[in-house]
Amino acid sequence: MSGTHQSRRSFLRTGSLLTGLSMLPAQLHSMSEARMSPGPASSQGTYAYPNPGRVAIVHHPGAVLGFNNVDINAVQYMFDQGIMNLTGVFSSPAAALASLFPGLTTNSKIALKPNLINSSVPTRKEVVKVVINRLVEMLGGFPATNITLYERHNFAGCGYSTSYFGHNVKLVVDTSFPNLGYTIHCDGKDRPYSRTLHEADYLINMPVLKDHSCSTALNLTLAFKNHMGTVNPGGSNGIHCNKNAILDIMASNVMRNKQRLVILDALYAIYNGGPGGNPQATPMKMLLSQDPVAIDAQGRIMINNLRSTNGLGPKNATYIDQAAASPYSLGIADPALMTVVNLALPVNLAAFTASLDHGVIVLRWRTEGESNNSGFTVQRSMNGMLDWTDIGFVHGAGTTHEAREYSFVDDASAQLARGGSLYYRLRQLDSGGGIRYSPTVEVALQHRELEWNLEQNYPNPFAAGTDLPLHLPRAARLRLEVFDMSGARVVTLCDAEINAGMHYFHFDSGDLASGSYVARATAEGVVRDIHMLLLR
């Protein structure tokens, strides 16, 4: 695993002086937001949100498999690595997540705010699910019923449901914002906000990487603009495309006290003409931060890099710089002042298969890129759950951006008699000591009378030499010869009693002329031929 690691202590030193204030229970604050009170003076080096400028950016090149097709295992891995590196808590992802919620108990209520306005590029349901998976593990078991998602739009259109999430979380479509006595003061008015957020102790803000057609001051829709929907953006009293309003919302005590984490879903992106439309890029990244200014500033960099690549001018989104400056002082917008933990996951395992082939099990896997990859320990299990045994090691390519093919042969002859299944997985080791396990693959063993087989030589055509694979299901006397096309025997490669298993016989072409040759194997009264081509 690459990236800059900090100790928990040094990590906390970068925290905000305001953390103590932010840790006050939300219930202690007024039901009605005070007039906009900008954060403390930036000249004191303090900001409104904890751990200003610290951002974890996780990239997994296998996270997106296609349109509306995401590898949730990759996303879970991204979140787990991201949250542990963001917090400096490495005991478990759930412990890392819990560390962001001061005073957390099993009675606490947590709100999640995804962005579902564009069902083609929403906050992916997989991203929400992996967060929920860890939320319910907090404190040894956090009640799913205390977790509520709120958004103005139809959850079902984006694949959100309690059955999909696998936990009994609540999905609340907040479309009306009646004044029930709790407001956020923004752009000169006290405005009602989401009841779900009001009743929550903590908030996780989960925007998507998209640009926006609002004015140049507000032409990205990231963490700040995702609060269109926390406060009613529509109607005659709406705040749609209102830069002052979104700054005031993020500066409000409601947000300061409750918003504890921003997760920017950058698996897909829209960099031009958003926020509607289909995906225009697949950065396959997830950004995590407690600082909404820093995460939006990093999002701006990503969007503008995509725009530059496609010949488009930059999006200014000046609200980000305004949010960082006095009097708001909400966080850090200058990348030079940030602590960015870039986590490029070491290996993108694109495929991992196992198949039974003439009594041996052939494992094949492919990587689409590797970073500091030492290699793969191949492990086998009889039940797929426990008792994993190391059966071999295959060296990795170190660092490469090119696809690599790997294979490993496990002679399962001894297992064939028992039938059932065998299970395999890869334990990938990077040069920094990081470990990652592949998915488990199963191979069903079949009871059947196996015949021996001479397989096609490799390589073929060949020049200096080639290998002839031959499998014997049981010990037998084997004769293996090579003939030229006139029928003359060129060489006898084997004439002996051979043990059961996979054997590879090497044929050295020596000074033979180019042309076709036949390899003939005889065992148990059966003759098998293969044709080979020698090209010099």
Partner: protein
């Protein structure tokens, strides 16, 4: 492949011109400009809450498309409608085609939407059978989109396929809609 499609379309559009005849409903509302289910062979209307909408004022449009709304409200927006269709592109089923039609009041306003700096098509492709003089296609990583202006209408069609044959589908929808508008 495109010539036969064009011939079929010409026949098809000729049929569309009969929209005001007794055996075909008149075009009364903006929703009548949308192709009917399977009117374009193999392209059925999808159902469900998110498969169609009608916005007759800016507030309703904001609800449906949020950040995209000001592109239209800045240029005379009157009303708009959307319909999702499902069909096949080059043997791949389950492809979705989304049609959005915006009545901008005047052709000048519709052209302003088309030319808005926030509505740039990167690396635009000229349609083989353009529905109007102002029409472009863009290809994205998983999809194609087409925009065009016909009279006072701005039309945006998106299809969830990056296959080149998806452009034929876009053009069929576009010519169908343009034929109705005319």
């Amino acid at each position: 492949m495109r010539l036969p499609s064009l011939l079929i379309l010409i026949i098809f559009i000729t049929g569309c011109d009969k929209a005001s005849t007794p055996d075909s409903p008149d075009i009364v509302t903006i929703s009548d400009l949308l192709p009917r289910a399977n009117e374009i062979s193999g392209w059925d209307r999808m159902s469900g809450n998110d498969a169609a909408w009608l916005a007759t004022n800016a507030s309703e449009l904001l609800y449906h498309i949020n950040g995209g709304a000001e592109l239209y409200t800045n240029h005379g927006f009157i009303e708009a409608t959307m319909q999702l269709y499902s069909g096949i592109v080059n043997t791949q089923s389950g492809i979705e085609c989304e049609v959005q039609i915006y009545d901008q009041g005047t052709e000048s306003f519709a052209r302003a939407v088309y030319d808005d700096p926030n509505n740039v098509f990167v690396n635009p492709i000229t349609p083989s059978n353009p529905p109007s003089a102002k029409s472009q296609i863009r290809k994205d990583i998983f999809s194609h989109s087409m925009k065009f202006v016909a009279s006072r209408y701005y039309v945006l069609i998106s299809i969830t396929s990056a296959d080149d044959k998806a452009r034929d589908v876009l053009e069929m929808f576009a010519l169908n809609i343009a034929g109705r508008i005319q």
